[in-house]
């Protein structure tokens, strides 16, 4: 260790209690930051994944305007062949076609208005988690079978079970009266009440028959292996749209605009809070380093009269601060990783937050994960502000006059 380094290190420990208190402030902030940021990243990831996986997929091909109005007439013509040709062209992507309509579903005892989705039973499981969430019975099969799967809440409200029949009443594509009797073959439970109460799925062929769709549907859902891959493949899919069609391809952000914004809103309030924490730590460091410079005025006076330049002293102070900051960085990061890992193993559930979590498709117990980024980002900012805070006391040294300095004690 060179002499300047050693000097800085010794100076740091002149006031043990003070140094530990300053390090303590950094540790506190860093531990908290690592934990909170890891938690946010984990939650955001889950929110996006769960929301998109449930139903939306990464992209959808729709008629213009359908996204906002979801009108029956805003159709994708010849949807099954379109999906098939896309499947051939993009083997890495999972692709399924859907139709969507509103209908009054009546059982023996009850009638409710619900959303009916026509799905391709072989492909739907690849783009949506709902087929995998069947808790009773099975998913729909075949192209034209008059079978239906309903959400658990809907089944309860309609007082129906597997094997019961439902009458669907609605209007077809041409506005004419549409009616059908379908048999319940499965009940799914996604845990999202709105979905479980309002949605039922039937094979797309049967859907097209019932609602006089004439081969048309409403959405082609596309899932890529990852979010990044989805972004990359989007322009190719746009290019693959049948010539002359006015179909549009929406990415997940357009389909679930609330998702990114909710994350954005959450992030901005979180960053406000983190900013305050960092500033408070910076003040703590400023205080300590200013004290440490002021109490050494006499000493600095002596070494300056011996020929040391203010710049050299300033560097000494900055070096001391760097050491201080590094201790806080390392200890805080370790603390944060430990805390995060604890909740990574045991899962984190905040009492009272369950319903809030459900709104964002989050499970009640979240298993946190500390990534290198989430660990390093907070402590780095704290470290940066630590150095910034020490700049004032370090710069003060330039104003120091050796003779005057020696006179103070």
């Amino acid at each position: 260790m060179n002499i300047v380094m050693r000097l800085a290190w010794r100076n740091l420990w002149r006031h043990q209690r003070r140094t530990w208190l300053t390090v303590g402030a950094m540790m506190f902030a860093n531990t908290l930051l690592v934990f909170m940021i890891s938690m946010q990243f984990s939650m955001y990831g889950l929110m996006i994944e769960n929301t998109l996986k449930l139903f939306t997929g990464h992209m959808q091909i729709q008629a213009p305007g359908y996204k906002d109005d979801q009108k029956m007439r805003q159709t994708v013509a010849d949807i099954v062949p379109l999906a098939a040709s896309l499947r051939a062209e993009f083997p890495d992507e999972k692709i399924a076609a859907r139709g969507q309509a509103f209908a009054l579903a009546s059982s023996e005892d009850r009638s409710y208005g619900i959303g009916i989705f026509g799905v391709e039973p072989e492909f739907e499981p690849q783009v949506s988690s709902i087929p995998g969430l069947i808790k009773e019975g099975r998913y729909v099969r075949g192209k034209n079978a008059t079978e239906i799967v309903v959400g658990a809440v809907l089944a309860r409200n309609l007082r129906v079970g597997i094997g019961d029949e439902l009458t669907l009443l609605g209007s077809g594509l041409d506005g004419s009266f549409a009616a059908a009797v379908v048999t319940i073959v499965g009940i799914f439970d996604s845990g999202v009440v709105d979905v479980d109460r309002n949605i039922a799925q039937i094979p797309l062929g049967a859907f097209q028959d019932i609602f006089f769709m004439d081969g048309a549907g409403h959405q082609v859902v596309i899932s890529a292996p990852t979010l990044d891959a989805a972004a990359a493949v989007l322009p190719k899919i746009v290019a693959a749209m049948p010539p002359g069609s006015d179909l549009v391809v929406h990415d997940w952000d357009a389909l679930q605009p609330g998702l990114k914004q909710a994350i954005k809103a959450d992030m901005s309030s979180a960053f406000f809070m983190y900013g305050i924490l960092v500033i408070l730590v910076a003040f703590s460091v400023l205080n300590t380093q200013l004290m440490s410079v002021l109490e050494r005025t006499h000493e600095f006076g002596i070494v300056m009269s011996l020929g040391l330049k203010p710049g050299q002293l300033g560097r000494l102070v900055m070096l001391e601060t760097t050491l201080l900051g590094l201790i806080g960085f390392v200890l805080g990061a370790i603390g944060g990783v430990l805390l995060t890992s604890y909740f990574g193993v045991n899962g984190l559930s905040i009492p009272g937050m369950e319903e809030m979590a459900a709104n964002f498709n989050l499970p009640t117990r979240v298993y946190l994960e500390a990534t290198p980024l989430s660990v390093v980002i907070g402590p780095s900012v704290v470290f940066l502000f630590t150095l910034l805070a020490a700049a004032y006391p370090a710069l003060r040294l330039y104003k120091l006059h050796p003779v005057e300095a020696m006179r103070t004690n």
Binding site: L104, Q261, I276
Partner: protein
């Protein structure tokens, strides 16, 4: 007690002996306190609005249903008390407002489209006081009475149905025998609402018209009562419970809208945690400052002890010094937060994340709410935890031996 003025003067003077350190610390405390109150006011503003909107859309602070209704919202599970009898019970009971209404799921169809909605058969006169809709701002007109055979729907729903004022729509639901009950209505008004989802999901018809369509005579599915405020529903709740058949299900708003209820609790918890976290971040600097302040004047402490001051006086002096430091910071922090929140009272436009807020159930204009109780909480937390944090340095200071302190070198 006699010593208080002496100790306070000493503490105050010592505080400003090292004015740089004190200014830094005061700034830190001020910023911390400002952040505590400012952040709380913003969050309160958001959550309060969510709750108020949510509660007013319910509507009513206390609701009465058939025991099965909330789980199975069908006309079969209606309240089997006639409107006439309800009127006898409640009209004279001097509630701020009450209403009986028909509320069932239904499908609404125009010539082009169908949608699932909640059908509300209401008495527009009785429900005006609930304030979930401003009747006068309805495009066209609102319902005129219980007999009104027209329908009022949301602007957004009208767009989706491609219908408009003057056109006809069909409502479909079920009667108690599960026969399809349907009827055509003429759209006479379109309403707008700030409450997310409200415009798409609710349609209003006259109560009698709804009863007739659903073939339920003069019974309804829901009774709603307005209390003084959503934070004080107990008195209303008690009176409703006392005056109604025990087989019915009487619920406070936060039991009906559990999401909103838990939100209120989560919010209170968040405010507390946020304030404590900020304080903890401050506490290191505070203790540090006190430790340094004691360290610098060990000799003087020795002198005071030698002159006959008791150790408890030294303890008191350091604690007072800490309290003064915190009080100055608090004063500035309080003023600062008031001064920054005041200009924002007109609301902060956060419409760039409007749909995100909608997912949370919040509106896109944020009105900060500065509660006196939150301000008091912040001050109490800072002072009481600050007191605890200063005990250790103060205790150490009071344990010095006078001779050693006086002869201390350095």
């Amino acid at each position: 007690m006699r010593m208080l003025p002496v100790l306070t003067r000493l503490a105050w003077r010592y505080l400003w002996r090292n004015h740089r350190r004190t200014i830094i610390m005061v700034s830190a405390i001020s910023i911390g306190v400002w952040a505590m109150i400012f952040m709380t006011a913003l969050s309160r503003g958001m959550v309060d609005q969510m709750i108020e909107d949510g509660v007013s859309a319910l509507p009513g602070h206390v609701q009465v249903h058939n025991k099965q209704f909330l789980d199975d919202p069908s006309v079969s599970n209606r309240i089997l008390i006639s409107d006439a009898e309800l009127s006898r019970t409640f009209d004279s009971a001097d509630f701020k407002a009450w209403a009986s209404r028909v509320k069932v799921p239904a499908v609404i169809s125009s010539e082009y489209e169908s949608r699932g909605v909640t059908l509300l058969g209401i008495d527009p006169v009785a429900e005006r006081a609930f304030g979930y809709l401003s009747y006068d701002e309805v495009e066209g007109r609102f319902l005129e009475g219980v007999d009104d055979n027209s329908i009022v729907i949301g602007r957004k729903l009208a767009d989706k149905l491609e219908t408009n004022v003057g056109k006809r729509v069909v409502l479909m639901s079920q009667d108690p025998e599960n026969e399809i009950a349907d009827r055509g209505f003429r759209v006479v008004g379109l309403f707008n609402s700030d409450v997310p989802g409200y415009e798409d999901g609710n349609v209003f018809v006259g109560k009698k018209a709804a009863q007739k369509m659903l073939r339920i005579g003069d019974t309804t599915t829901e009774l709603v009562f307005l209390g003084d405020s959503y934070r004080n529903v107990e008195p209303t709740y008690d009176r409703v419970v006392a005056s109604i058949d025990g087989t019915l299900d009487v619920k406070r708003w936060y039991e009906v809208a559990t999401y909103l209820g838990s939100l209120l609790k989560v919010m209170d918890g968040f405010v507390m945690i946020w304030m404590i976290v900020i304080f903890l971040a401050l506490s290191f600097g505070l203790v540090n400052t006190l430790v340094m302040a004691v360290f610098e004047r060990v000799r003087e402490i020795g002198l005071m002890l030698a002159l006959g001051m008791k150790p408890s006086h030294i303890l008191g002096q350091i604690i007072i010094e800490s309290m003064l430091l915190l009080s100055v910071g608090l004063a500035i922090g309080n003023v600062l937060s008031w001064a920054t929140i005041q200009p924002l009272r007109g609301g902060i436009d956060i419409s760039i994340v409007a749909q995100g807020m909608e997912m949370m159930g919040a509106a896109s204009v944020l009105y900060p709410r500065l509660y006196v109780s939150d301000m008091i909480l912040a001050n109490v937390i800072v002072l009481s935890l600050g007191f605890l944090a200063s005990l250790s340095p103060a205790w150490r200071a009071s344990r010095y031996e006078p001779v050693e302190a006086i002869t201390k070198v350095g």
